[in-house]
Each structure stands twice: as structure tokens, then as C-alpha cells.
Subunit: 202 residues, 2 copies
């Protein structure tokens, strides 16, 4: 794309550095700011800088929060003997939305991904082990993505914990609720047959 | 969406203020910055602020540029008697990519849109009239979008110029090159029949 201005080029480059935003969308965003009032740009620049500079992490679960301990960890009504291990905040929100889990979380902040240079030490695995050791935690739900990287991370954590007296579970894989069999991929359908559950009669 | 942090909420709101970016995408972008190095955020904040504060307009065609007059207006090889009127920079790029136009441009910076409070005085129509009056311009191509707002703007400009001795044309509407008739909408197909062109025999 041949742009008539260096300043515009830089703004386009800035937007295009974000995931899922290509050059064309980036140009549309930059031209949107050009049309809008000065405050719109200042608000965005200030909000992201402020977020990046001042955001902190819960010292228990490593979720993003404004204080030392997040609301979930500070909530005395949440069960303390079960921990759900997730990749990031979005997964916490997803699990919370199900209203099926009343325990606490542990946010890894990523999954092991050698291709992108993310090793076990780059995510919150050590702190998970430390958190469990000598605690009252009885079960760990590894709710990580069903990808190669997610499975690797699940395997790594399970191996690390093999000597710890603790129940470790992962999410059930199978046909989604409302899903047609003909549209399911073979791996998922195969897994749902292997891990079939007893039907409750009556 | 129930976010655990005010700072994150503000960053999400900032991204979601951009066109085409919803709350979910905005959260993904904010979490991306959270993971990335400090420089990534600083670069974006600096680039958009710098762009907004220091960008200028070509005093001839009102296109975005870094200097007083843009490269196209300053180019002595471009024809000066024909002006293509477009909505914004993206349309200049689109027309330039066709390599079919060697004249100059006039960038309106929008189209008349009463629903969004954009009147004729909010876009560069007066400066277009002033630019044409007493000049050597012989033809004006109104290359505005084929929407209600674009057509209104085309109509408005044409009416304003009715006493000026000048050829005014608009883009041809019709079946796109490579397009199948059965997939064309009725209005487009109807227009392409009404405005059929003589086939060059031999």
C-alpha cells in the first residue's frame, strides 16, 4: 500500500501490529481517528498506556486485577480445595459464565509453545506447584485449550505433580450440546464414543 | 462482560470505540498488549498521538499528507484539467491502483449524511467550487460511493455547478468484470441494460 504520509504509515503500522488487524483495517482505523475529535485519540492512547503501566496481578492466582488479591481469591464463599487452571482471563470469564464452578482459579498466562519461544518457566507453572504443595487443595481441573500446545502444557503439569497426592482432571471432550453428529470431526466423535457415559435410566 | 479490573475495562472501552471492533475483540487486543513488551504499547500510543497531532492536509486537494502540497498535486506530469472527486484517501488509493486516471483529486473527507449530522459545510465542497471557478478544469469525475449518502452528495455538487461550464461525469455502474448475471442484483443489472454500450465490431 502506497500511503502519502509517513505519519499515517506509522499509525497504520501501529494498528497492524495488533493481532487480527491487517493493513487495510489498520488504515480504516487510522482514518477514523483522523476524522474524530482529538479527545478520541487521546483517550485511546491514555487508556492503553495507563493499563500497561499500572495493571497488576493477583498474587494468588495471577489473574489480572487492580489490587493485590483478585475478587475471586478474596471471596470467602469460594471453595478452596479445588483449583481450575486456565490459560488467561478470557477463560476465567468463560468458566465463570457457566456458573458450574465455585472453586478458585490459577491463570498460567499462556501455554507451553516452543515455536513461539514460550517454555514452562515463562508461564505460571512454578507458582502453581508452590501453591498446591502443603495446601488443602484436593483437585486440579486443567481447563487448557484442546490444541497441541494446550495438551503439552496439561501433560507437563501432570508429570510435575505425579508424586503429589491430588486428583487431576481435564475437561470432558465430546459433541457440543445441540451439535449434529454428521458435522462433528472424527477425532471429537471418536473421543465421545471412547469416553461415553452411562445414561441415567428413568 | 464482567472484568476484574477498572484499568482493563478502560483499555477495552478504548479499543471498542474504534469502528468494527466489539467488546470481545477489544479484550483480546488489551490482553495481547498485556502479554507484549512495554515498547509495543508505547509505540502504538505514540504513533496514533503523533499522527493525530501532526498530520496535515494538502491545501489543494485536501488529501492527508505531511507537507503543504501532496505528491499528486505537486506532480507536474499529472493532468490539471480533470479532477476526480472522492470521499477519502482510501478511494484515492483505489483509483490510483487502476492506473486509468492521470488527473488530480479532490478529497471531500466524507459525504453528506444528515443522519450523522454531516452537512455540505462539513466536507470540502466549498473549496471544490472555489478550486474550479476560474480555473482550467474541464471535467469533474464524481467518484462517490453508490449509496444514498454518496448519491445525495453527487446530486448536491452537480446542482451547485449547474451554471459552471464544465463536464460532470460519474462512475459507470454495471456488472463487475468476471461477474455472473444470475448473481447480480436487479438494480445493478437494470442499470447495466439502460446504460448499455455499443459493442466494437471487428
Amino acid at each position: 500500500m502506497n500511503l502519502p504520509s509517513k505519519l499515517l504509515e506509522e499509525a497504520v503500522e501501529a494498528f497492524a501490529s495488533l493481532p487480527g488487524i491487517g493493513k487495510k483495517t489498520a488504515l480504516r482505523l487510522a482514518l477514523h481517528l483522523h476524522k474524530e475529535k482529538q479527545q478520541a485519540t487521546d483517550f485511546i492512547a491514555h487508556a492503553i498506556t495507563n493499563f500497561k503501566n499500572n495493571i497488576s496481578q493477583c498474587k494468588e492466582c495471577h489473574n489480572i486485577c487492580d489490587s493485590e488479591v483478585c475478587d475471586i481469591c478474596a471471596n470467602p464463599l469460594r471453595e478452596t480445595d479445588i483449583i481450575c487452571v486456565v490459560e488467561d482471563l478470557r477463560d476465567v470469564i468463560a468458566v465463570e459464565n457457566t456458573a458450574q464452578f465455585r472453586g478458585k482459579y490459577h491463570v498460567l498466562g499462556g501455554v507451553i509453545n516452543p515455536m513461539e519461544g514460550v517454555g514452562p518457566d515463562d508461564i505460571q507453572i512454578e507458582s502453581l506447584i508452590a501453591r498446591i504443595t502443603g495446601s488443602e487443595v484436593k483437585e486440579l481441573i486443567l481447563a487448557l485449550p484442546s490444541t497441541m500446545e494446550g495438551d503439552t502444557t496439561t501433560f507437563y503439569i501432570t508429570k510435575k505433580l505425579k508424586d503429589v497426592d491430588l486428583k487431576v482432571s481435564t475437561l470432558a471432550r465430546g459433541i457440543p450440546i445441540g451439535g449434529e453428529l454428521e458435522y462433528a470431526d472424527e477425532v471429537t466423535l471418536g473421543r465421545s464414543i471412547l469416553e461415553r457415559v452411562n445414561y441415567q435410566k428413568g
